[in-house]
């Protein structure tokens, strides 16, 4: 029996020793003693071997865990690096990617970020990743559905359960119910904090199996949560900055509109004058003895044309005043510049200024917000016109130039023949509220610079050797444009 046990226990290499023992048993009582001693020897050998084997297996598990941890640390440090360099606009995409990689690594079914809304008392899911074939989770969960969990997270604590039954039966009864309803078997969640306030959570869950969560992973998840929270709060402030810039640009446009009112009124007035005169002429022709229908037809054609022209003025005006979101599109800088030049053409006539366009052919397209960039060019043109108020009439020339810049940029320059900028002021012409105009707000150039910089360009001012000043800005060429 003892032998049978040994046979069962012993791995293959010990089989010859067992055979020898069997022989000894068969050779009598002396032999029995011998067998007992030998058996004990063999047994201890077996035990030692088994112990060694077990120890080896244990070490392998520890080594594997170290490898996992290394992979996990690598993954985390990659995330930290990624999130420290990306732009606000890429945050969502990167969070999504990070969720997927983490969920892959942890072999979980769901990974998600929520944002707490005090108003609606819900945790809104802002980013979600689910394994293939797993049903998506609801887009928001009421605080009341998981009160125990939310209370803990909002205190800055983590929540971890390997099975729903791990949640306290009395305190988390509602939470248990909710998780069962959602099919969540296990979860680990850490709070997301911004400026010391818990604003949401990061959680990973399984729906298929219950599972245990390693302590070191839980610790590290806090770090990842912080990385996400930082990125989100940076994006929020970027969006706010952008909104502020748009508001400013809108203010700028409205005040520019004030300056432009006279010339726009004129632009509208011309087609309206033509329409009225044509209509009156047509009525007189119809009242006359001999009605010239061909003439009437021609008049009507002209009326239609002038009406379209008036419509275009209004359309342009409206487009100009629109307080829209940043609308990125691929733009031809020459076309954009010419449009603005047309907008100020009557203003220039009134001021006896000749605007000369010098557009470089074949410039690469750029990518940006049409209206905002128009605003920049308009501001520079109007500044140029203003700068020449005191110049001799014959010398009032404004050159609007486009060119290829250094590397992959395009340059727009507005060169006036006005009074120039006092050297001492060259440094702060772009500061808000710097103005030389009695009626000016001093916002034009400040807004212009912030718009150009938001487009990845630079706006600069310098005095021309031959008098007057040149304002120029660069914009990155959009080489990826088709």
């Amino acid at each position: 029996m003892c032998l049978a046990l040994l046979t069962l226990l012993c791995p293959a290499p010990f089989t010859p020793a067992l055979a020898a023992a069997r022989d000894l048993v068969q050779s009598g009582s002396w032999a029995v003693w011998q067998v007992a001693v030998g058996g004990a020897l063999i047994l201890s050998l077996v035990l030692i071997s088994t112990g060694l084997l077990l120890e080896r297996a244990g070490r392998r598990r520890a080594e594997l865990s170290l490898g996992e941890r290394l992979r996990f640390e690598t993954l985390l440090s990659e995330q930290v690096a990624t999130f420290s360099r990306i732009l606000g606009t890429d945050v969502d995409r990167e969070i999504q990617r990070a969720l997927r990689r983490m969920a892959d690594f942890l072999a979980v079914d769901w990974g998600h970020l929520t944002e707490y809304s005090e108003g609606s008392q819900t945790a809104r899911v802002t980013h979600w990743w689910g394994a293939e074939g797993v049903e998506p989770q609801p887009s928001a969960i009421g605080f009341g559905e998981i009160p125990w969990v939310v209370t803990r997270l909002r205190r800055g604590e983590q929540v971890r359960f390997s099975r729903v039954e791990d949640l306290p039966e009395s305190g988390a009864a509602v939470d248990r119910q909710t998780y069962r309803r959602l099919g969540i078997k296990s979860q680990i969640a850490v709070p997301l904090t911004a400026e010391g306030v818990v604003v949401g959570s990061l959680a990973f869950s399984t729906v298929g199996n219950e599972r245990a969560w390693r302590d070191e992973f839980v610790q590290r998840l806090h770090l990842l949560g912080e990385v996400f929270a930082n990125a989100l709060s940076r994006r929020r402030s970027e969006i706010e900055g952008q909104r502020l810039r748009q508001d400013l640009a809108h203010v700028g446009r409205v005040s520019t509109m004030g300056e432009l009112t006279a010339s726009l009124a004129h632009e509208l007035n011309q087609p309206l004058t033509a329409i009225l005169s044509n209509a009156q002429a047509a009525r007189r022709i119809l009242d006359s003895a001999k009605v010239d229908l061909a003439e009437i037809r021609e008049i009507l054609t002209d009326i239609v044309e002038d009406d379209k022209r008036a419509g275009e003025v209004i359309y342009r005006l409206r487009g100009f005043l629109k307080k829209g979101d940043l609308e990125l599109s691929t733009l031809d800088i020459g076309e954009l510049v010419s449009q603005v030049a047309r907008l100020v053409s009557s203003d220039a006539i009134i001021r006896n200024v000749a605007i000369r366009l010098e557009l470089a052919p074949g410039l690469p397209p750029i990518r940006g917000d049409r209206v905002q960039l128009q605003q920049v060019v308009l501001n520079l043109l109007l500044n140029g016109l203003d700068a020449m108020r005191e110049s001799d009439v014959g010398e009032r020339t404004l050159v609007l130039r486009t060119a290829r810049g250094d590397g992959t940029t395009v340059v727009v320059a507005v060169q006036d023949s006005g009074v120039g900028i006092p050297e001492a002021d060259l440094d702060h012409v772009f500061h808000a509220f710097y103005t030389t105009k009695p009626e000016g707000m001093g916002m034009g150039l400040a807004i212009a610079r912030s718009i150009v910089e938001a487009h990845g360009g630079r706006l600069e001012a310098r005095n021309n050797p031959e008098g007057g000043a040149t304002f120029s800005f660069t914009l990155p060429a959009f080489e990826g444009g088709r």
Partner: protein, 209 residues
């Protein structure tokens, strides 16, 4: 004889639609119309002797409507102007009216007001030219006077008696009488009163020499 030509209205406006429509409207009212895109274009045209007027935009690239008004006055051309403008600019309108404009109208233009102003401007041009012709005629007559006759003329119209004129000029009263008769004849004046009026219109001032 051909019937008298319809008065000619010059339309100067840099906006093609505006000048075309205005020319058209003016024609429906029985005028001839000639459009110009700029002051320079208009100045290149030879002066028109017949009844006419000018419908002139104030603000244009290059020379403005006010520049043209100034140029016409400097050249002694009598051509009445109806200014049209897209802007209600009081200083400019005051300057235009002081410069002799018939009217200063704001676009879009009311047909009745515009045609009324044009009619008035054509009449003003004619009257101005008659006046101008008359002054020229008087000046021509004055030009036929000898220096002595001119001197007598200048003193006669101040109301001096022959005797006083004689002593002023150091000549005999009888000689003054002869010169005076020649002046009346050359100036084609029937009376002293008429002679005084002609002197006023012709711009003769008492010779203070």
């Amino acid at each position: 004889m051909s019937p008298p030509a319809a008065p000619l209205v010059f339309v100067v406006d840099d906006d093609a639609s505006v000048r075309k429509s205005l020319a058209r409207l003016v024609k429906t009212a029985g005028y001839e119309a000639e459009p110009f895109a700029s002051v320079r274009d208009f100045l290149a045209r030879s002066p028109y002797e017949g009844p006419c007027c000018l419908v002139l935009d104030v603000r244009m690239p290059g020379l403005t409507g006010l520049d043209l008004q100034e140029a016409l006055r400097a050249a002694g051309q009598r051509l009445s102007i109806v200014f049209i403008t897209g802007y209600r600019d009081i200083p400019v309108s005051v300057r235009a009216m002081k410069g002799g404009a018939v009217d200063f109208l704001t676009k879009p233009l009311d047909e009745g007001t515009l045609l009324g102003a044009i009619q008035q401007a054509v009449a003003r041009t004619l009257a101005d030219r008659r006046e101008q012709a008359r002054v020229t005629e008087i000046r021509n007559r004055i030009a036929t006077l000898t220096p002595r006759e001119a001197a007598v003329f200048a003193l006669v119209v101040t109301g001096m008696l022959n005797k006083q004129i004689g002593s002023e000029l150091g000549i005999a009263e009888k000689t003054v009488k002869v010169h005076r008769a020649r002046v009346m004849e050359k100036m084609r004046a029937a009376s002293l009163a008429e002679l005084v009026r002609l002197a006023g219109e012709g711009g003769v001032i008492a010779a203070g020499s």
